[in-house]
Amino acid sequence: MNNSEAKSAIFASIRQNLAASLPFDAAHHAHHAPKDSTFTTPVLPELSTENLIENFRKNLESVGGNFSIVYDESEAAEILLMMIGEKKARKIAVSDSPLVEKIVGFLKMDAEFIENASADRLFECDLGITGAQWAIAETGTLVLESESERHRLASLVPPVHVCILEAGQIRQTLGEILELVQQSLSRTITFITGASRTSDIELTLAIGVHGPGELIVILIDKTEEAEN
């Protein structure tokens, strides 16, 4: 495959065609020029952590996500224990996030926690636990960066995904998050908004087609504790 030949041919064609367009551009522009000057990003009020949490919760729940709020890691562990019991999960895939490790460390139970599972073993897991690096309140979205956490499969393959989030990680808008993650861009970033879904059959919603059918977020808000 002579790739450099194809590449130069494509670039030559791009330049040649753009040049051919020049005589027509002005007239077209007069009719169709985007009125870009009008574009302004709406200025949002500074939101308190409380507001951000509330917005996140509301939007997460609107896409079918499950939300609980706790004030520390040990309380998170209690909730987690309850959920694992409820789901009767025996094999649990976990990410390598220190927060997840710490919380899982609190759990006294005979389920198997598997970090860095092979594909075969992942397919046998009943539940996956990860953290997240950021969350977007306006859409109820979790943002996971591959270089902060080994999240790609644990958050995807098991039928239930539990994500442990900290209050300080929430931002209101997608735009803020894009700026933040760009500062040190992980090789893979995953945005997750709700459970896996499809409407491919008669536009009827079905949940859990390839990814998890359930998304559970446990939010740790330590300011809660201070107030308590």
Partner: protein
């Protein structure tokens, strides 16, 4: 205020009463109305079928005729033909002179209902019509000229009439010029959705700003023996029933 009428060929030949009504409403509003008999067609059929050379001839002729007039505005009882005039400059992408002449003519050309409301600032024409009215948004008036509220304001002020909104008022009637005869089955399938809603509305008259849509809708209503009649907005606004 002096108005030069652009009457369009469909109105001229098939429904001259619409042109007459247009003149009546404009005169009642205090306008001086003139009509240049040299005008024929704006060339839209050619333009829409891809015959730009022909369309350009029509455009030049139109521009030359209306440039001679000292009228303040050009008013037409058709959203579609008005939109065509607004497209004239696109026919002269490489001819700065004709392009600017086209733009000048386009700037003073108005669809009838938009002219009444936006230029003359008239929302009540003292019309009276007994019956139930509904409105069909002709696509070019709606999407090329952005005429949406103007006709509704005018129709809601017609005495004795009841205005009902069609559920699919802003959906195409399936006319589309040569489309209606190139793909008649698709055209009529689209049309039948419109007809179903008109029947559901119980309207006595379906009103629009374009003779072409009215020909399409009316042709089907007539074939199906419906009680609903197609009427141009000028006819309603001129009515004194």
């Amino acid at each position: 205020m002096k108005i030069s009428l652009f009457i369009t060929c469909l109105v001229d030949q098939l429904c001259p009463q619409v042109g007459k009504a247009t003149v009546e409403v404009l005169r009642r509003a205090g306008c001086e109305v003139v009509f240049d008999e040299r005008q024929t067609c704006c060339g839209q059929p050619a333009f829409n079928t891809g015959y730009r050379t022909e369309a350009r001839k029509f455009a030049k002729r139109f521009i030359e005729i209306f440039e001679e007039s000292d009228a303040d505005f050009i008013v037409s009882p058709s959203g579609s033909c008005t939109a065509m005039v607004k497209h004239f400059d696109e026919l002269f992408a490489e001819d700065e002179n004709w392009r600017s002449r086209a733009a000048r003519i386009a700037a003073k050309t108005y669809e009838f209902s938009a002219f009444l409301v936006n230029v003359l600032k008239i929302e009540d024409t003292n019309a009276s019509f007994s019956g139930k009215l509904t409105w069909h948004d002709a696509c070019h008036g709606l999407r090329d000229l952005n005429v949406r509220d103007e006709p509704r304001k005018l129709l809601k002020n017609v005495r004795n009439a009841e205005f009902v909104e069609l559920k699919n008022a802003d959906v195409c009637c399936g006319f589309g010029g040569t489309f209606a005869v190139k793909y008649p089955e698709i055209s009529v399938a689209i049309l039948d959705n419109k007809i179903a809603e008109i029947e559901k509305s119980g309207a006595d008259a379906v009103v629009a700003c374009d003779a072409s849509c009215l020909m399409q809708i009316g042709g089907r209503l007539s074939r199906l023996g419906s009680k609903a009649k197609p009427m141009h907005i000028a006819e309603i606004l001129a009515a004194q029933e």
